[in-house]
């Protein structure tokens, strides 16, 4: 424990020295600077770093990125390790506690807080400065999402997602309903969903889903999930309540499968089965839907409907971060910048598995799935994207959503009441810190 903290301090001191050197035109003047600088500049002994990821579909692209990095830096080998999602966070947590976490790994905004506060992540702001990384190439919503307010930068976005409406043209044609237009409104969405609902087919799916569901409509109604001060929930404001009612209205109309049906079979699966005509969700489904060859020609994408206060979509993304306890901080930082850089983004884009965060690589992503003509919608959506709310112990208060919102979805409790109760519960979590 003590030894590890000492190591972190030493690494931090080294970084500080290095930063001082690079600001002085990169010419080390002091002897101390020369020794620290040596590790980064001279072709040192071969180093192997580990890079841990969870998504199987993306692993080939990650290995390709690792290989491309080694080509540029022959002395650094990157070992890509894949862990299944259910084990990823528990393994990472135990590894960080025991000082054996991977050198570089994927991070989510909902999870970063305790790691950053606990000093477990490498601050790469010096490297970003030294390499003149242009932060404007990354979606601001995602950068903001990871900002811990401590002036440090722990990682750069590797990908991002926005939401739109995936729809099944065949079901529209069968019901004789016109396809959604780019400027459709909430009222249009509700009416379309109703018109599409026939025996065995639902117009849309309305699960209790924060990221691809009600958070979007709350922002579209001019509301917020968490108040601007970050200390209170704002779900019980009239605007937020309107945003939640968007979904309960759809449930009331019978335009969606029931919550029980969507608990048994995920909404996305029901959509793929051709029983749901419109599915509001993220860009991350693109490749999966594209690979469903029977469904592929029928897929269309429309922007989210315009709400009472205009357009909005929540946005988030994965960041590449490094472990503070790594033995090779310089090499890891170098890799982190590379893995979130342009070349890596292009590799990801070509695989189609995910929408890369680096600006200018979207076209490559779209060309990976040429039969989908409307993917531009997801990229345009980043203009009105807001960061996914993740204040405080987000995993804890997000986990309370089914408990408080299910009765509202099922029409047993008025939305106002459910929103008030849920807000009070979130306040309690936020107060606990």
């Amino acid at each position: 424990m003590h030894k590890r903290r000492l190591g972190v301090v030493a690494a931090a001191a080294g970084i500080a020295l290095l930063a001082a050197c690079s600001s002085g035109n990169g010419t080390p003047t002091s002897t101390a600077g020369a020794t620290t600088g040596a590790a980064a500049t001279t072709p040192a002994a071969p180093v192997t770093i580990t890079y841990e990821v969870w998504a199987g579909t993306q692993t080939p692209a990650m290995k390709e990125i690792a290989a491309a990095f080694t080509k540029e830096n022959p002395n650094i080998t990157v070992n890509v390790q894949e862990l299944p999602w259910p084990q990823y966070w528990s393994t990472l947590q135990t590894g960080a506690q025991g000082g054996t976490a991977p050198d570089a790994f994927w991070m989510l905004a909902q999870q970063i807080r305790p790691y950053a506060a606990g000093g477990q992540l490498l601050d790469i702001s010096d490297e970003i400065k030294a390499e003149n990384v242009d932060l404007s190439k990354y979606p601001k919503a995602v950068i903001d999402l990871y900002d811990q307010g401590d002036g440090k930068i722990y990682g750069l976005p590797k990908d991002f997602d926005t939401n739109a409406v995936w729809y099944n043209k065949a079901l529209f044609d069968a019901a004789g309903v016109a396809y959604p237009t780019a400027d459709w409104t909430w009222a249009d969405f509700r009416a379309t969903a109703k018109a599409l609902t026939k025996k065995g087919v639902w117009g849309t799916a309305a699960p209790i889903d924060y990221q691809s569901g009600y958070y979007n409509t709350i922002f579209q109604a001019g509301g917020r999930v968490i108040a601007a001060d970050g200390k209170h929930a704002a779900l019980d404001t009239p605007e937020a309540i309107k945003g939640i009612q968007f979904w309960t209205d759809i449930m009331k109309d019978g335009s969606s499968p029931t919550l029980q049906q969507m608990s048994d079979t995920e909404a996305e699966t029901i959509f793929e089965q051709g029983k749901v005509a419109m599915y509001m969700s993220g860009a991350y489904w693109a490749l999966q839907l594209y690979n469903n060859t029977a469904l592929r020609p029928n897929i269309g994408v429309a922007p989210l409907p315009v709400g009472p206060a205009g357009r909005a979509t929540v946005s988030s993304g994965i960041e590449n971060v490094g472990f503070a306890g790594t033995k090779h901080p310089q090499e890891v930082k170098k890799f982190l910048l590379f893995a979130s850089g342009q070349e890596a983004a292009n590799i990801q884009a070509k695989s189609g598995a995910v929408l890369p965060a680096y600006a200018g690589t979207e076209q490559t992503w779209m060309s990976a799935m040429p039969d989908f003509k409307d993917l531009q919608v997801f990229i345009d959506a980043s203009k009105y994207a807001v960061p996914l709310p993740v204040q405080g112990n987000a995993a804890e208060w997000q986990g309370l959503q089914t408990q408080y919102l299910t009765p509202a979805w099922n029409g047993q409790v008025p939305v106002e009441q459910a929103a008030k109760d849920y807000s009070a519960a979130i306040d309690k979590v936020l107060a606990a810190g």
Partner: protein, 317 residues
């Protein structure tokens, strides 16, 4: 007995000063025993005792994920008992345990029946044992499909019989029952084949049954008067193991409720699921440790009670 003999030996040794053969063998045996047990003891200490102490201490500390946590006294425990979710999870775990215990008499009857089968007995044994060697994740996934409310096999069969189906794994009133059904099915392999059948039923002397048959006793009565009493120590063992593992059930909730979007999850959490959530989803280390300690106490209490009750029904064979 052993101390009574050992004491005079030692005295004699001390007085004479010369090692007698008895002394040498005795000393050496003790030393070897200690040496042989040492690795296991060490393993136990390192892998169980130490983590337990760590957990116990942690349960009185704050929730900091990394670095030192401050001492918070019994706050984690008071938070726990004032949380409705805890009592709900405790109730779920107990209901699940009670239901899974119904699998024990079932296993006893099946064990006795298999003993009667003369041809193809192996087939039955293999069938009942299969769940034991199957991946729990695979079992959970398959049962999820069978129990699916819209296109599951169970509801299809029920509809053929004119019985309306249910959302077995999407309705919080039913999930624990669904878990128990799968839990019993999974437990049958171990309880029935490994323990009851192999070491219990087949160990009952055939002469007893022959004598019973000569006396003209019926099959049902034979089961009640010979098989069950003679099996009772084994049944006791099975009950103890079943209760402990049932109180620790976590995997079925995790796998069978599938996605986080399952709205039945809130009503279906078990104690260990609550622990998992606190430790690995919400990062509440101290709180999670408190849950683990409470679970240990519940298991210890349940086991102690069973040892008490045992005197009333277990036959000394």
């Amino acid at each position: 007995m052993s101390t009574a003999t050992r004491v005079p030996v030692r005295r004699r040794v001390r007085r004479t000063g010369t090692p007698t053969p008895t002394r040498r063998t005795r000393r050496r045996t003790d030393w070897w025993a200690v040496l042989m047990i040492a690795p296991a003891t060490l393993g136990l200490a390192v892998l169980y005792l130490w983590p337990f102490l760590e957990t116990f201490l942690k349960s009185f500390k704050g929730n900091a994920l990394f670095g030192p946590s401050k001492f918070v006294g019994v706050q984690n425990y008071s938070n726990l008992i004032s949380n409705d979710a805890f009592w709900h999870a405790l109730r779920n775990s107990m209901l699940y345990t009670a239901l899974v215990l119904l699998g024990v008499p079932l296993a006893v009857v099946l064990a006795a029946l298999i003993e009667q089968v003369t041809r193809g007995r192996t087939i039955y044994q293999v069938l009942f044992f299969l769940p034991v060697v199957t991946l729990p994740v695979a079992i959970g996934m398959v049962w999820r499909l069978i129990l699916n409310g819209d296109f599951g096999l169970l509801n299809w069969v029920l509809s053929r019989l004119g019985i309306p189906g249910e959302y077995w794994v999407a309705d919080a009133r039913l999930t624990i029952w669904a878990f128990a059904a799968v839990g019993i099915w999974m437990g049958l392999g171990i309880n029935l084949i490994m323990v009851l059948f192999i070491s219990g039923v087949s160990a009952i002397s055939p002469e007893l049954y022959e004598a019973w048959a000569l006396d003209g006793g019926g099959r049902a009565r034979q089961f009640r008067s010979i098989t069950v009493p003679l099996l009772s120590p084994t049944i006791f063992f099975v009950v103890i193991l079943t209760v402990i593992s049932a109180l620790q059930m976590f995997d079925l909730v995790f796998i069978m409720l599938g996605s986080v979007n399952n709205t039945a999850i809130d009503g279906s959490k078990t104690i260990v699921y609550l622990f998992y959530e606190a430790a690995f989803v919400q990062f509440k280390q101290g709180y999670a440790a408190a849950i683990a300690v409470v679970l240990l106490m519940v298991i210890m209490a349940a086991t102690a009670i069973q040892f008490r009750l045992q005197r009333k029904w277990v036959v000394d064979v």
